[in-house]
Point group: C2
Chain length 353, copies 2
């Protein structure tokens, strides 16, 4: 991987009707000069890898970065956290809706959030990129810039990766983190605990709805930006005092009800959320314009990568956490004491999904 | 990721002319019963993840396996090796040439070889799978079986992953290993060192040529098998005594000349290989039938994941290593003292590649 792009592939005649896609970019003006090769085919794999790694400083935890068969990362606690996600073009991002920087930032953010959701500080990431041979070098430059920007924000660096040819853009990120003495699992919630959320909910779903409806993104710039690049509140989680009364945590990637459902199932408890605690007036104008259900955005919209957690009652919540519900005995997640009748969140292989 | 498949995706209208591909399987008879859901859409993402993880035992190094936001892996040495690779359908494997088990084994083997090429013992892997919604559950079952079989062979287990919907099959593997006290880098070769190889060279290229020519695989079963599933000699590397006089190492994924080129460049030395030491009579019948250049297969065929290394002269080579050349001053790789004029190996974005 630190070799970074050496595909072990062999040429093979295509047997399927997949045509390479044209990659067109949106976002800020090009920084490419006339002498820059225009496509990754022109530049070549090994020059591309050198370009992706050039001029970057690894974080202290990366003991050996790109350039050999494998990277070496420090694990001062004697163990490390690992989380991985794949993003597929037109499924997890659209080139007409997101800039290359946005896509890079989102790919890192959603993986960093998984590591932080265990209470661990991100240390490093490895990234594989599959792309058509006619992908503009500018796309890769700006995508890599987005990767690094979010990696720095989360507290790590890009320790290596792979670049391969693919008929459409595919991105795979694996994130690493240094675990705390006591990782925060999904399975620790107890009846009586307070359910709380750090970060925004429903913003990404609202931004998607604005884009899908063809509304000018400039009408709701913050909401659309939240869809393009999630902003997990890493610091709110990692800044909690070591004796914070947290009992369970997950990041909200599939939707609040779905992810609280994972906590409920893992912990063998029930959760009831209070819809009044979950409204967000900032989303109201977009919901009204679109005739959308604001509560559904907040309860079932994923991808904001907020954090949902449970805390022992009777102690103040750490800074940045807002109470939204209560843990009880039983199983499942209810809203204001009654079952939620709509869809609860994302399912990869469902018809709509 | 140990959550394993929770895509943070949102539905998005396709904007490109990519049609999902039909996944057809070759290989051993189906073990699926009538009551098994036929496709991953029918089964559903979360049931699929449960099925992929069911009945498996993690290796001792995996402290927390699938089921939370991240896995936790032990790093007894206080640091860990990381390598990652992406495999794309029809680019790195073909469903009409390889069984699902083969594809799973190959995906793990090529990543495990990168970790072993640093002298590190594989400990764990995470795997992301992108696949069409109509992918047979049987494909996933058999692919996962292949992953686990090769992971066990390499000495690790599958600690987590992700499953997402994709119009074609895409696999991303990240491999982890426990570094030895002194990792074997590419940069340690010195003039006078002996160049040696452990494992087979040219077999994968020969097997590909047999398949591509439409020759009945039964005529060359071992050679075709070598293309479908590389057999890196993990034990030959990991079984070397701690005081073995090894100075540099790489796995042969791009072709011997290309990968020795990486060692030469990293070490600032020249390498000359002896073509007589590199012939392989077992490949001769296939080369003769196809009118192929046997030497080119051996010198430039990748994907066998043999290991190439340099050793201090004057000491016996460890068991399983065959001398194939010599390190000198200068730069670049020559064959019998002269430059190689053909292509040296794989390049992801080249026209033929």
């Amino acid at each position: 991987m630190s070799r970074g792009g050496a595909s072990r592939a062999r040429p093979a005649a295509p047997v399927l009707s997949i045509r390479p896609t044209a990659v067109r970019l949106i976002g800020k003006e090009s920084v490419i000069t006339d002498s820059t090769p225009r496509t990754v085919r022109e530049l070549g794999e090994f020059a591309l890898i050198a370009r992706m790694n050039g001029g970057r400083s690894q974080s202290a935890g990366v003991l050996l970065g790109p350039g050999d068969d494998a990277a070496i990362v420090a694990a001062p606690a004697g163990r490390y956290m690992v989380s991985t996600d794949m993003l597929v073009q037109d499924r997890h991002f659209r080139l007409d809706w997101s800039s290359p920087e946005d896509i890079g930032r989102k790919a890192i953010a959603q993986n960093a959030a998984d590591v932080v959701a265990m209470g661990a500080a991100p240390s490093a990431f490895v990234v594989s990129l599959g792309c058509p041979a006619d992908t503009p070098v500018e796309f890769v430059d700006r995508f890599v810039e987005g990767l690094w920007r979010e990696a720095h924000r989360a507290g790590g660096s890009i320790a290596g990766g792979d670049v391969v040819r693919s008929p459409l853009l595919v991105i795979s990120v694996t994130a690493f983190g240094d675990p705390p003495d006591r990782p925060v699992l999904r399975s620790g919630a107890h009846p009586g605990d307070i359910v709380a959320v750090a970060g925004r909910l429903g913003w990404s779903a609202a931004g998607l709805a604005v884009l899908a409806a063809g509304i000018d993104p400039a009408k709701f710039p913050e909401i659309v930006a939240a869809h393009r690049v999630p902003q997990p509140p890493y610091g709110t989680v990692l800044g909690m005092p070591a004796d914070a009364p947290i009992t369970a945590m997950a990041d909200v990637s599939d939707g609040l009800l779905a992810d609280l459902g994972h906590i409920a199932e893992s912990s063998g408890i029930a959760i009831d959320v209070d819809s009044d605690a979950l409204t967000d007036p900032a989303l109201r104008p977009a919901a009204d314009l679109l005739g959308a259900d604001l509560t559904a955005w907040i309860l079932t919209g994923g991808e904001d990568h907020a954090f949902a957690a449970t805390f022992r009652a009777g102690q103040p919540l750490p800074a940045g956490w807002a109470p939204v519900g209560r843990v009880g005995t039983g199983s499942g997640v209810t809203v204001d004491g009654t079952p939620w009748t709509g869809p609860v969140g994302w399912e990869s292989f469902a018809e709509g999904g």
